[in-house]
Symmetry: C2
Subunit: 217 residues, 2 copies
Amino acid sequence: MNTVQKRGDVTEKRSKKSQALRERLIDAAWRRIATVGLSGLTARELAAEANCALGSIYSAFDDLDQLAMYANLKSLGMLERCLVAAKTGRTGADALRSLGCAYARFAIENRLAWEALFDLRLLHPQPASADFVDAHSHLLSLITDALREIPVDTTPQDLSARSRTYFAAVHGIVSISLQGRFVGHPPERLEAEIDAFVTLLADGLAAEAGSARSPQQ
Amino acid sequence: MNTVQKRGDVTEKRSKKSQALRERLIDAAWRRIATVGLSGLTARELAAEANCALGSIYSAFDDLDQLAMYANLKSLGMLERCLVAAKTGRTGADALRSLGCAYARFAIENRLAWEALFDLRLLHPQPASADFVDAHSHLLSLITDALREIPVDTTPQDLSARSRTYFAAVHGIVSISLQGRFVGHPPERLEAEIDAFVTLLADGLAAEAGSARSPQQ
DNA sequence: CAGCAAAATTGAACATCGTTCATTTTTGGC
DNA sequence: GCCAAAAATGAACGATGTTCAATTTTGCTG
């Protein structure tokens, strides 16, 4: 820690190049995940696609899992843009329906990248997984905002819990359908199924709030 | 195909031994999955646990994936017994709630075996994956039966589709919570969260059926 | 019981994987 | 142009799933 900075801004130009390598690797990793799936993300093919040596991957990232996580972060950003677009101009139950269908559409249109979001298991939970949770929290706030407009009679922390529940429920429907390991819905029926499901949820919530305001028993 | 059966029942005693090996391997595979997870199912450690040679695995099964699938089939049988027990003596919404909570409990208590049910990706979709779908279909019939008792006004094929949707929704809530990659519920809140969710669903369905029978608008 | 062909078992060997690290090449201020 | 520090390189390592030639076991036969 004593002789580190004896030269001025040596690190500046260097870090630009190394940052460029990092981005090149993340992009290459994302492309491979999106085209051949997470299991197709091999170190040697990745190095070829990013035009770097095998060992350079490990000077830019701790391991392939960390790199895959950054690629997933990119997918999560794409998902967020889709969901934000689906919500603009809509409120309440209408917004919830649109969000659910947009999620299903994103999963279908970006199948492999979407699958990788849930297939990746990190051996050593990484520092950047905090970014991952942050990104997901932002998605959840889209749901929370829509729920507030229903309006449902719950405390703020209940609202947050319900947002997580409804996101997870829609995700489960999409997941079981697309993974094809269990008995799910055919992809072409998925959006309609989710639309009906979210409608049922929203109606149930509205009825709950209504009966709470006017309990006629 | 001409000289195959020139001896009487040679295959009988032989097939008994080979069947015993298959069962020994499936049991050993299940134990390893249940204790160290699907990724801990390695050929060499499996051979050690089953007291057989490395190559014997491949005379009993096509590959490790097929073996893991039979271990998963065993887990699915355990899950089915849990769910059947949870449903006995209950009907309608009460049965649905009990099923959902039992599913969450099974996932928590058999975490690694339950995760393996969804983590396994088959390279070559196997013949026995039909058994897998059959087992899942039987689980779904538990839900369908409960739904019929609500009663909800839908056609039989709609009832089947709704069963799949509700199973997938509950699975999603459990999955997101336990995998811990996204923002889910803490395990100790999971059952309560699912109970409330299933109640909401059942109430929504009952309201739907009620308003259909007496449309006072 | 001995003979023997077929079946089952074995584990060394192979290809491929993620990862490491000694060596080489590049970099940028003096 | 020099040179120390940084970056890039790819051969090598250990572990993986899978194969297969060699060996052992099996169970009927004369």
